[in-house]
């Protein structure tokens, strides 16, 4: 790391006052104005809002703005800012009560019913809450002023209503080596230069949900750090159009279907999962005002744990809601093909409901058992939140398996929409894909394509690894499971020492 003082500071466009984003149209226009560097399949995307592969994800995130304006959803979609008392979008709120924690989960389920897909904005929401409560703790220990800085940043987020992507996962290179021992030091995001006006960072964040249609990123460390890894103990915020930031969109299952803009995409309006990207930071300047952890390595683990808990809290909400849609689609598929009355189909649908409600119950439970942190912000029960996410890594696969079972092999073998519409073979598709009389073949095909979209490939992997892989939850059981106390209860019962 080079120590340099007082060089000319690059101006970042964050300082231009943003117009408050209120409507879906405001959001889309704000993305057009961002001019951030995005690549899709080897080509630079000039306007993300016009790209057919990105547009569904934008539509999905846009609903987080649109639903907040509807009276029938404002109870969940909005909150009163604890900083200003003003009404804000809940995705920019710091949880002030148990009720806030529960409303968060309810909100996620509600939006998932509308999108049938990921709406991305929870990552930044969780990052805001995690950094808020941890910045306070860092200040208590080190007499720094991160908390006040962060409150100013939070105010900017609440007032402008920008979409923030939470950036935690580093590429990590050789997993057997710590950050400082990697062949390439940039495999973990780190500070390469400290200056009078700010820091220069280098590295990358991987799998960033909603990144290409977010305005800013709130970076956090990817794991607990040791003293020799101080430069990797970093939390900061920056706009995604800052010089040196490059976003590379991740390839998804069947993503070319989005470009066809027909029903073969399964969920043409809202796409498939969140639209993840690799974000590269090539010597990016961050002013001190946007730095919230820099070198206080012993608190980086706490920040990671808090973000992970807050994010794992969500999964029974959003995946519960997405599962509701998949259950509905499976029931319709059965109705359309005349199997709905079969007892084994009813039993499978009941099992799907059981699994969906189980994960939702976990999210509600960890919220209900949450507590107040020293910062004043509320935090879900971490053991229950981890258990919830761990159940998601299993139950979503089982729900998808049952959806495939109910729908039949047609989900994997169905002709194209183009065949249905073809003047030569369309009549054969209509004739041989017919199910129950009176049900249009197109309706049956649409439902089956939706099931395909929601139950395979990228959608499943996201349930497995989003918010942390199953092993990370098991690590938390080891730490929070309180095995010693459990042994004590067993010994006491049988009266042994």
């Amino acid at each position: 790391m080079n120590e340099v003082t007082d060089p000319p500071s690059p101006k970042i466009s964050e300082e231009k006052r943003m117009k408050r984003i209120v409507t879906k149209e405001d959001y889309i226009q704000s993305l057009k104005d961002l001019h951030h560097v995005v690549y899709y399949n080897g080509k630079r995307v000039e306007d993300v809002t016009e790209h057919p592969a990105l547009r569904p994800h934008i539509n999905s995130a846009a609903l987080t703005y649109e639903l907040a304006l509807r009276p029938e959803h404002e109870e969940l979609m909005t909150a009163a800012s604890h900083l200003t008392g003003r009404k804000i979008n809940r995705f920019t709120h710091i949880h002030q009560s148990i009720d806030d924690l529960i409303k968060k989960v309810q909100m996620l389920r509600l939006i998932a019913h509308e999108t049938g897909s990921c709406f991305q904005r929870c990552v930044g929401f969780d990052a805001l809450n995690a950094v808020y409560m941890t910045a306070y703790d860092i200040d208590q220990k080190y007499k720094t002023d991160y908390f006040e800085r962060f409150k100013r940043y939070l105010l900017h987020v609440q007032e402008s209503n920008v979409m923030v992507v939470g950036g935690m996962t580093d590429p990590k290179g050789d997993r057997s080596l710590p950050p400082g021992k990697q062949a390439d030091p940039d495999l973990f995001t780190h500070v390469v230069e400290r200056r009078a006006d700010g820091i220069i960072i280098r590295g990358a964040k991987a799998h960033m949900t909603g990144a290409v249609n977010s305005h800013e990123i709130l970076i956090m460390p990817t794991q607990a750090m040791r003293e020799e890894e101080k430069d990797y103990a970093l939390a900061c915020a920056l706009p995604l159009n800052a010089p040196g930031v490059i976003l590379i969109f991740g390839r998804q299952t069947n993503e070319e279907r989005k470009c066809e803009e027909g029903f073969d995409a399964g969920n043409p309006q809202f796409g498939l999962v969140g639209g993840e990207a690799l974000i590269i930071f090539e010597d990016v300047f961050v002013p001190w005002e946007r730095v919230f952890l820099c070198g206080e390595y012993d608190l980086s683990g706490l920040l990671v744990e808090r973000f992970a808990t807050l994010h794992r809290q969500n999964y029974g909400g959003c995946k519960g809601g997405v599962s509701d849609v998949l259950i509905g689609a499976s029931a319709l598929a059965a109705e359309f093909q005349g199997t709905a009355g079969a007892s084994h189909i009813k039993e499978k649908l009941a099992e799907m409901v059981h699994l969906a409600e189980t994960i939702y119950a976990g999210s509600v439970a960890c919220s209900a058992m949450g507590y107040k942190t020293p910062s004043g912000a509320y935090y879900p029960d971490p053991l229950l939140a981890n258990t919830t996410k761990h159940n998601v890594t299993r139950h979503i696969y089982e729900i998808a398996r049952l959806a495939h079972d109910i729908s039949g092999g047609i989900v994997a073998t169905m002709p194209f929409q183009g065949d249905l519409e073809n003047s030569e073979v369309g009549r054969y598709v209509k004739k041989y894909l017919a199910g129950v009389q009176g049900i249009p073949v197109e309706a049956r095909m649409k439902i089956l394509r939706l099931i395909e979209n929601m139950s395979g490939g990228t959608a499943l992997v996201e349930s497995m690894h989003g918010a942390g892989s199953p092993q990370t939850q098991k690590v938390m059981y080891g730490r929070l499971g309180n095995l010693e106390q459990k042994k004590h209860w067993a010994k006491r019962l049988v009266k042994i020492d």
């Binding site: 009276p71 404002e74 109870e75 969940l76 979609m77 309810q106 909100m107 389920r109 509600l110 019913h113």
Partner: protein, 93 residues
């Protein structure tokens, strides 16, 4: 057309409603448009309130400051007729 009663509508958040709340309220509004002026729940000078809940948990009633006005809570689609009846009766008073 006489003076229409002012009725506020307050919704729960709609996390997992058992029916389409908006469709139900649209039906009520279209049927009683000539008799009742439907407004937001936080408007001044309301004559009454409808609390529209997606389920029996009745979250629309939560955080609602006590009001000394007519208040009717619905939690299921089957309550449509009762609601229309009550609103019609209320307007006649």
């Amino acid at each position: 057309m006489g003076i229409r009663a002012k009725i506020g509508i307050k919704y729960c958040g709609g996390c997992n409603p058992a029916y389409e709340r908006m469709e139900m309220i649209e039906r009520v509004q279209s049927q009683l448009r000539d008799q009742i002026l439907f407004l937001r729940y936080d408007e001044q000078g309301l004559d009454g309130l409808i609390l529209v809940n997606g389920c029996p948990r009745s979250c629309a009633a939560k955080d609602l400051s006590h009001r000394e006005i007519f208040c009717h809570s619905i939690t299921a689609e089957s309550e449509l007729e009762i609601l229309i009846e009550r609103l019609t009766g209320f307007n006649k008073q």
